[in-house]
Every structure is written in structure tokens, then in C-alpha cells.
Subunit: 450 residues, 2 copies
Amino acid sequence: MASLHPDTLLVRWKEITEAWVAIPSVSTDTARKADCRRAAQWLADLLYDAGGTVELLEGYGNPIVLGRVDVGAPTTIVVYGHYDVQPAAREEGWETDPFELVYRDGRYVARGVMDNKGQVAIHLAAALALKEAGELAHNIVFFVEGDEETGSPHLAEAVQSLREILRQDAIVVSDGVREHNLPTLELSFRGGFNARVWLRTLAADQHSGMMSRVVPNAPEVLVRLLAFALQEGEGGLFEILARDAPAPSAEVEADLAVLPFGKEGIARATGARVVHPKNAQEYGRWVGLEPSLSITTLRAGYLGEGYRNALAATAEAKINVRLAPQQDPEAAAERFREWWRERFAQTEEIVEGDVAIDVPYRGVMLPRDNPWLNRAGRVWEEVTGRAPVRTYCGGGIPVVTLFHEEVGAPLVVTPLASEGGNMHGPNENVNEFVLREGLAWSARWFGARE
Amino acid sequence: MASLHPDTLLVRWKEITEAWVAIPSVSTDTARKADCRRAAQWLADLLYDAGGTVELLEGYGNPIVLGRVDVGAPTTIVVYGHYDVQPAAREEGWETDPFELVYRDGRYVARGVMDNKGQVAIHLAAALALKEAGELAHNIVFFVEGDEETGSPHLAEAVQSLREILRQDAIVVSDGVREHNLPTLELSFRGGFNARVWLRTLAADQHSGMMSRVVPNAPEVLVRLLAFALQEGEGGLFEILARDAPAPSAEVEADLAVLPFGKEGIARATGARVVHPKNAQEYGRWVGLEPSLSITTLRAGYLGEGYRNALAATAEAKINVRLAPQQDPEAAAERFREWWRERFAQTEEIVEGDVAIDVPYRGVMLPRDNPWLNRAGRVWEEVTGRAPVRTYCGGGIPVVTLFHEEVGAPLVVTPLASEGGNMHGPNENVNEFVLREGLAWSARWFGARE
């Protein structure tokens, strides 16, 4: 490790990233299927040329790259990542070609530079440079899929059939953003589901001049029910969903207390006039450890330009539900469904109502007593001089739940992207210092036993 | 009058209607401009051939037909109508060609057979048959426009410049449906306006996993405000709008009390499980004499298939407002606007809000002490053996307000179409008996002084 100059790692990262981001492996665009395969093949060749053994796994959508860099070490670390990217087009606001790696104002810019090719490339650069220097202290298995941006529809299947190969000493996942650019260990992810609530009050739309106040207007009935559903008090949906959400442990509360939290920063970033949580703990609990409900769609009546003078026969809302990490999503979905069914039955104006729930998914709370996690934390401290923050994430990374439940190996989820990197948007980028810290962390972690 | 056999009138009506409905004068379809002109010209020729004097008035959209059948009588009646029709296509559910007059199961079927060519044709058949028989007791002026279905954008202008020609002894308007197929005199129409309420809580949509409960979601803020706005109690919009709506007079209440009212019929016709008014008077007041508010559009967040996990930065509702006949629509619109502005100012989550109000229009309450109206009622009673019902309409016929305010001549608004006639829908039709009663009424009204 001592022999690896930081610049060597950066040069290696740039070589890998530059070539890889040039392949527009956009999985959400079926016209890019061949490019996805090219991006997989490119990675396979890289690992093969570095002396690894590589397979392209077929039958799970875009090929999964499974590559092993074996140095005969007694321990093996699995690196998860994905080579597919979000779409990007110059006219969406990119200042340069999205598929060309560019250095500008202290940042590297390209589609995929962090989500996720660039983060995988950090681990690739570290592992390959260490191997060449004879300093790689663990065998490394790269497990890199090509359908993350389309929801990894076949990943569960792949993980189940590769369970034995993936059940190694540790699995590292780097696919997110560092909290305030601090070294970050992510310890939980929420579960949840999406639901569509739909109701009918009339056989067909009715003339508003003739029938207003006489017969029920579906949007008004929906508005009344939603207003009641979303208040956080007694009888509302939040209370129903939160019923079996466990209170965070004292350790978790202590982690939340040290997180940086600034209402002004959130207000500035989102354009909100009001930021509801009072402090870091409330913020952390609300976002990561308790359920939430958001209306993501309201749709009723006439959607065109101008006006149509009609009561609407039907109305629809879509609701995004998040659940505390340990909650049973099926049970929560059933309570959600039941709540609406009762409302439909008790609301005499409703002729017909329906709740459709999209596959509920499980969150995960990772164990804190994992020696690999502790070592990851120590390495962060050695590299940056700062103890990592432990975070409890609002979103989900389904693959983490999958690894935790299906594989059972200790997980280290540590994001390497910088804040303000505009993942999924134009000019996706990474801050050079954050990038260098990631390279140093990966090299030190892969390069030593203790 | 004695010499006119009812069948003569019906034959005459069929001749006129058959030829006129065959011209697809769809004013909402710009490709049908020439057909609109053909329909106008056809009517002009009919009146000219019958010895009338006719003008096609240009400069007000589709030509307005102004035709005078003069028999040197001391009194003149103006007939308002429109020759333009709604679109119609066989594949929308028509059992026969929409532009061919067909007799089926006791009904005449064609686009325009009641809205409005067929109703104008009733007055044409009566006037021309009476003239030929030497029994027409009044001069008749036909004022027939071609832009009613597009909202008569130039009619106010035309009426203002023709004020002296239109200011005759009476104006008859037949452009609606008889209440339960009873002889009907329409005495009031509501005013109103459409409004679009829009608000913003965020600069851009936010990830629902990261920001739910932290920053305000626009659809939820809108739902809360709408739920409060639409309750009919203290502080809600209904109360604000109803503030200057006069209570109906005892005479009007008496008219309402005799209207047929059946919850079952309304429930059957609309598919509603609940019909709110308790009795005929409540129904009549709510629909015709008090304000109403209806959400006609709800629109926020992701409107496509499936789901997008994002808090929405903005949300929108459109609201159709109806006002009591005598209310000042500008003042009501200002109170409506002010209510929302206060809400926007008081709701700290709202970054930006807007209320756009589409041109408020005035309703009208016609005087009851009009001798022409009384005679119209007596004629209905002579013809059908039933006293007409007096109705207070939920919708508006803007031309009636216009005639009342700009011309000032006594108005007789008496619809001649039958219920279930599916105006604006496929298989528009009129019941033969209702049609015959209309012909008899028009002939008797035009054919006698007293």
C-alpha cells in the first residue's frame, strides 16, 4: 500500500472511467441494448486482462459481469455495482457530451461518473493497482449488473442462484452519495410500496350546472378522504402504518444526533419555505426510521387546456408509502388496503372503489456488530481524519436487502459520490477530493488485513 | 288556425328538418366552415322563398341569418335559434347516419334534431304554414346564429348592433329540454365562472424517500385547502359565495314545490348512490337559485402509467362556480379570488399561488309579470291540458341574459325538446308526441292575438 501514490490511483481511475462512460449503456432505452452488452464486455475484458477469471451471466436481462481477482488470500470481498446508466442528452442541459469524461472546476463530469460506473471504477482501480503492486490483501469478486436503473427485475433470481459464490467474507456496496461529503456508512434502508387509490361516485360525468350539490362529485369525495388520510392524528393512515414501527435504539438515536442538519440548507436545495423537522434526530427518524406517505399523483376530471363544466365520475390518487426498516411490508400494505376498504364501505357516496398495491418491498436494518464494518469505519478515519457518520436512509437499495436476506454475508454500504453531483440529471459529476478520498479508502481497505 | 291539421305541421317540420340536418354544420370543426355557411344559406333561401326578407349578417363568425316574415301585423315576435351543431360520427355509437333524419320507435333521430335546428324548425313550420293559410297573427323575425356550440363569441356585438331590430314585442327562445316532458317556461338561469387554482411548495419535484415529511408536498397542501374550501360551513368558499345570494321569493318557492322530483330517477340517470336534496324545493333551490362549487379538474404529480416516487412541486385544481341568478358575478369572483389569496398568504408551506378566473358571466331572473309569458302559459294549457311548470335553471343560456340586458323585450323561454333526447351525444332524438305538442303550441301562439 505504501508504494501506491495517490496520483497512480487517480490516473488508473481516469483510464477506466474514461473508456467505460464512453459506452452509452442506457438500460431504460431498448435501442441501447447492444451498448449495455458492450459495457459488460468492456468490464469483462478489463478484468480478464488483469488476470482475473470472468463470466458474463446470461438469462437475467442485460448480462451480469461476475469477475474474480484471486490472489490466494484467505479472505474474499464481493463488490456490487451496476454498469447501466440513466439516459442523457446534450439538450437536457449538459454543458459537454454526456458520454465523454471531462474535468471542469475541480469535478469530473459524465453520465455514470458516479451512478455507478465511477464508483465501481474506484474499487476496480484500487484492486487492480494493488494486485499489480503485489499488495492486494483479499480476493475480490466483482458482481456488476446492467439493469439497476430499470429496477433490477431479475436480480433476486441471479442472487439466489449465485448465493454460494456471493457468500464471502464481506460485500461492499457503493452506490449513493456521502452525507454532507462526510465518510458515510449506511446502516438501514426503508421498505415501502406504491398504491393507486381510485373511486367512482357516478356512472358517467355529469353537467356541473345541473348536478352540482345534487349528486356526489368524485374529486371532492377523494379530497375529503385524502385530507383525513394524511393528517398524522388518530385514525389517519400514518398512525395505521406506524403501528408496528419499532422505536429507534439508543445507539441509533446517538448516530442521528451527530448528523449535520440545517433547515436553511434543505430550504435552499428544495426551494421549500418550510422545513418541518426541528433537529437532526427528528429529521433522521422521519426520513429513515419511520413510515411516510406522499401523494405522488392527483388525477380527476378534465386534464386538457381550458375548462369542461362536468362533475367527474371517477378520481384517482397515487400514494408512495415508505416503511421503517424492520417493518413487514406485506402486513403494512394489508392495513393500508383495509383502511381504504373501510372508507369505501363507510362513504355512502362511493359506488365503487379500488386500491391497487404495487409489490411491497422490505427495508433492512444492518447489524452494527460487523467487524468488517468496524474496519471500514477505522479505515475512513485513517484516510480522512474523520470518523464516519452512520446513516439511516430514506430510500431503498433493494440489492442491499437482497444480499442481507439471501446471502447473509456482512455488508459494508459506503457511498463514494459527492453531494451536488446531480445523479440522474444533467452534468452528473464528482468532486475531485471526494473521489480521491474514495480511492484512498478502497485501496487501504483492500490492501490490508487489519 | 282551425284550418291547420296537426299532420300538416308535422309534414312541414319533417321537410324542413330533413333538408337542414343533412348539412353537417359543425361549428367546433373548422373543416366544416363551408357547411356552416351552407346551413345558413339554406335557411335564408327557405325564408326568402316563403316571401320573407332575409339578410346574412357577416363579421360575427359564421353568418347570422336575420329573416323577417312580415304579414303587416301590429306585433312582431323574434325567434332566436342556432343552426350549428355538435360533432357526430357514426363510430361514436350512432345507429344510423347522424346527418340523416330517421324515424325509429316513436322518435325522430339526427344530429341537430333538437339542438337546435329541430326546435327552430318547429317555429319555422308553424310560421310558414300559418302564413300560407293567411292565419299568421304576428310578424316573425328569425334571428338564427351559427356559433352557439363554440360559446357565441361574437353574439354580444351582434345583439348590440341589432338592438333596435330585436327590440320587438317578444322574443322566444327554444333551446332546451322540457322538465319531465311537461310544458315548461324557464324563468331564470344561473351565472358563474371557471377558476384555476394553482400552487407551488417547492422549486422542483423531490425524491419522496428523501423528502417526504421534511418539505411540503404540493398535492397535500392543495387537498387540505380544497377540503376546507368545499365544506359548506363557516369560512368555506360556499358561504363566501352565497353571501349576497337573495332568498327565493314565495312565488318562486311555490313554483319549485310543484316540480316533479324523484331521488330514484336522478340516481338511475346518473348512477349515483346518494342524491342529496330531500325534496323538490331543496332540489330547485340548490340547482337553480343558489351558488354551487364543483372541482372539475385535479391535477398534480406524475400523470403517466405506473408510479414516480416524487413529491410534486406544484398542484392544480379547476373549479366550476355557479351563482344565483341575480348575483353580481364580478363581485363573487373577487370574493373567490380574495379567499384563495388569504389562504395562500396564511399557508406557510405555499411558496407561490395563483387564481385565474375565466370571464365571469351574469345569470338572469326574468320578470314574471310579462303578458307574453302569461299568454305562452295559457297556450300550453290549451294545447296540452296541463299548466306549464316554471323552472329555475342550473345552467346558463348566455343569449337570454344578453337579450334581457341589451334588448329588454319580454322573453319567453320555452324548451321544446324531450327528455332522454341525448343532446350532444349519439342518437340525438325527439319524442314524436313532444314534437307534436311543440308544433301545436307554436302554431297556436303565432296564430292568435289573445
